[in-house]
Amino acid sequence: MSELTELYQEVILDHNKRPRNYQVPSGANRHAEGFNPLCGDRFTVYLRVEDGVIQDAGFQGAGCAISKASASLMTDIVKGRTLEEARALFDRFHDMVTAPMEATADADLLGKLAVFAGVREFPVRVKCASLAWHAMRAAVQSASDPVSTE
């Protein structure tokens, strides 16, 4: 079960059970939907952006443990970041869940998000982990159409 326990780490199971920021933040002024047509996971990410800084973030929707925990942690981590920083985090997160092990030395930078490194061993689950991130990036870019990981 070692790769499995890598995937379903305590932090992920906890965020799945008790998702943080599972609400529409008051004053939210940007949002975007993420939809994975393969498994039906669907989340809407909401941001309150003021002066180029994400003051608050939240999400709504339903999906598997990986996608829900990822949305929960993502909304935690982007709060207080500039839009630039949020975009850079997206890139780094994306690299971590797709790149081979040795290519990701960024554990420090990513902090808590490193728990998603185990997803690499489960290629079909990469889309689950990155779904909310795609929605966040789309919200940052003010896209109002649903985004898809396809």
């Binding site: 379903y8 199971l13 393969l38 498994c39 999906g63 443990a65 829900k68 689950r125």
Partner: protein, 416 residues
């Protein structure tokens, strides 16, 4: 070639012998013996099918219907023998009523396009059901968009059965065609095709039956069913991918315009006028999937050798066993509990998303499908985003079900 397909058999299926015909069942995944329960997506291939493909490519490969040389003659014979095998398998009256396609989806598209051009006009109606695979929804939507016809959908009950009373209400003199699945891939429901055919014909509507799931679980006799069209797909019949077949009633097929243009489907071509070939060639433009037909022929002969009656009995026993075992799993709910069911066990588990179930049981060697099963309207009807689905085939055993139950316990451990 192994013998199960050719020898007369006693009444009870010898599963262990059947399993020996499927080389892939010997492999391991993630260090565990493979337990393959994703048969509704595609079935594994027995040695006689693999042998037939190999024999064809190593011994007789040539193009069909066009050469005078020996290899072309052999290839043509093998190809047309495949058609006769499918004809017998579905008990069609004529071999020319069997049109080869790429898969079930193409069979539906062919009918939507060609029958549509013959019969369907603005304000006409097409009736489908709430339990169709996307393959038996989208071609009709396209037809309706093209013609201005209207799509009507027969609702289903909480158990996953068709509301025949509603169907009766939806059928009118405007109904041109009813498209219905024989066996639902998402729910396992077996639909009462002869009754539906009688209802539709009473209103002058043709009936297309989607047999993609049914044809490897129960004997199919298109004449007894009375339907006008029946589609099957080779890769679910223990045959190769990329080959399927459409049965169509001769009189209808003859009246229908061609589907695609190309070689083989014509009798003569000039720039002024082209005359089309006879059935079935009128609907088979271009070089067909010859090896696929050879493989499909071998596959349906393999099934006939075992006997669909015996396969149905074996799978019914397994379905009952699996239903009982799954119902013992805490928090598990079966989706699709029709009285007449076959081979499909769709379920959800409290507090665990199907996708997570799929990943965890895979690590135990158990292959199941998770998702919407190309039947999003069914998921919507039951208010769920997805299900986990175990689906049975001739080579599955009770110990496969036991492995699934053990794997589901692992799921509970992870999500404790």
């Amino acid at each position: 070639m192994s013998g199960i397909g050719v020898k007369p058999q006693p009444d009870v299926l010898d599963v262990e012998r059947v399993r020996e015909d499927f080389p892939i069942l010997g492999r391991r995944v993630h260090g565990k013996p493979l337990v393959y329960l994703d048969n509704a997506a595609t079935t594994q291939k027995p040695q006689p099918v693999l042998d037939a493909l190999f024999r064809y490519y190593t011994g007789s490969n040539a193009n069909v219907h066009r050469g005078v040389h020996l290899l072309s003659q052999e290839a043509t014979d093998a190809f047309e023998a495949g058609r006769v095998s499918v004809q017998r398998f579905l008990n069609a009256a004529h071999a020319s009523e069997i049109i080869f396609t790429r898969n079930a989806s193409e069979g539906v598209n062919l009918v939507a396009e060609s029958f549509g051009r013959l019969k369907v006009r603005a304000a006409d109606e097409i009736v489908i059901t709430g339990m169709e695979h996307h393959s038996n929804i989208v071609p009709w939507q396209l037809l309706c968009e093209r013609t201005g016809a209207i799509l009507r959908v027969v609702p289903i009950t909480d158990e996953g059965e068709l509301r025949l009373d509603e169907m009766e209400r939806l059928l009118t003199e405007r109904t041109r065609l009813v498209a219905v699945t024989h066996l639902s891939n998402a729910l396992g429901t077996v639909n009462p095709i002869p009754t539906i055919v009688e209802m539709a014909h009473h209103h002058g509507a043709a009936v297309l039956v989607d047999g993609a799931q049914a044809a490897y679980h129960m004997p199919v006799d298109v004449q007894a069913l009375g339907c006008d069209f029946y589609v099957v797909t080779g890769h679910k019949l223990y045959g190769p991918t990329g080959i399927g077949a459409l049965y169509g009633r001769q009189a209808l097929l003859e009246a229908m315009p061609p589907y695609q243009g190309g070689g083989d489907m014509i009798r003569s071509v000039t720039f002024e006028k082209t005359t089309y070939n006879d059935l079935p060639h009128k609907f088979e433009a271009g070089t067909p999937h010859i090896a696929g037909v050879v493989g499909l022929g071998a596959a349906v002969e393999y099934i006939r050798g075992i006997g669909l009656d015996r396969i149905a009995v074996h799978e019914r026993d397994l379905l009952e066993y699996a239903t009982a075992r799954l119902n013992e799993v805490p928090g598990l709910r079966l989706i699709g509990t029709a009285r007449h069911k076959a081979s499909i066990l769709s379920f959800v588990l409290d507090g665990v998303h199907p996708h997570d179930i799929g990943t965890i049981v895979d690590r135990e060697g158990v292959a199941i499908r998770t998702g919407h099963h190309c039947a999003q309207p069914v998921m919507e009807r039951f208010g769920i985003p997805a299900t986990a689905r175990a689906s049975l085939a001739v080579y599955n055993t009770r110990s496969d079900i036991d492995a699934l139950i053990r794997a589901l316990r692992k799921v509970r451990e992870v999500f404790a």
